[in-house]
């Protein structure tokens, strides 16, 4: 089963791995992105994720379809969480099942790379000192 989702709920890796199950699959690769306690050396207490919801869902579905065409994979899960997330929280998951591990690793890697390039989601860092700033805002 494929899953493409933008969500405000907790991401549960077990549920995602269940979606991948397939008796013909020998390899599952799961990537989890989590909120870090620092960015470029500055302490952080978490992130706020802004999203363009309908476009983001359309984009992750499109990325999934590309991966299915380009790699020998069985099932694909791409889920991105939005809202305010404290350090340690899972913000994004990309998971793939395939007969063999070459395809599973390649597709999972391409999946997260494309999510980060093309899905309309923006991060605002909540710095440990109480201030906050959008990523890439040079003003």
């Amino acid at each position: 089963m494929d899953v493409y989702q933008i969500t405000q709920q907790v991401i549960d890796p077990s549920a995602l791995l269940q979606a991948l199950e397939d008796p013909g699959a020998g390899a599952q690769v799961l990537f989890l992105g989590t909120v870090r306690n620092e960015f470029e050396g500055r302490a952080s207490q978490g992130l706020f994720y802004d999203v363009y919801p309908q476009m983001a869902e359309a984009q992750i579905r499109k990325i999934g379809e590309e991966l299915k065409e380009e790699f020998s994979v069985r099932h694909i899960v791409i889920v991105h969480r939005i809202g305010s997330l404290p350090v340690g929280t899972i913000s994004v998951a990309v998971a793939v099942s395939a007969a063999h591990r070459d395809a599973a690793f390649a597709a999972a890697r391409a999946g997260i790379d494309r999510v980060k390039e093309r899905v309309p989601i923006w991060k605002k860092e909540h710095w440990a000192d109480g201030s906050s700033a959008w990523h890439d805002d040079k003003s």
Partner: protein, 79 residues
């Protein structure tokens, strides 16, 4: 013709709006629209932004049509 323009992240902050309706005299490209209406309030030049029309990424020479949903946003930074 009119188009609905959406703003996110610091584009929304700078516009003081998440969305705005614009009335255009006639058809124009995304870049023409940006230069006429947005470069001033957004403060950064055309190359600093990404654009989508009806939820597909486009470049500056995409033509706008009546009823289009346009987003003018910073580079994405999800993950």
């Amino acid at each position: 013709m009119s188009i609905m323009v959406l703003f996110f992240s610091f584009a929304a902050d700078r516009m003081n709006a998440r969305q705005k309706l614009y009335d255009l005299d006639g058809t124009m490209t995304v870049k023409e629209f940006f230069e006429k209406f947005l470069v001033k309030p957004l403060g950064d030049p055309f190359d600093a932004w990404l654009f989508s029309v009806n939820q597909e990424w486009v470049d500056g020479d995409a033509l706008l049509h009546d009823g289009d949903e346009v987003a003018v946003v910073p580079p994405v930074s999800g993950g």
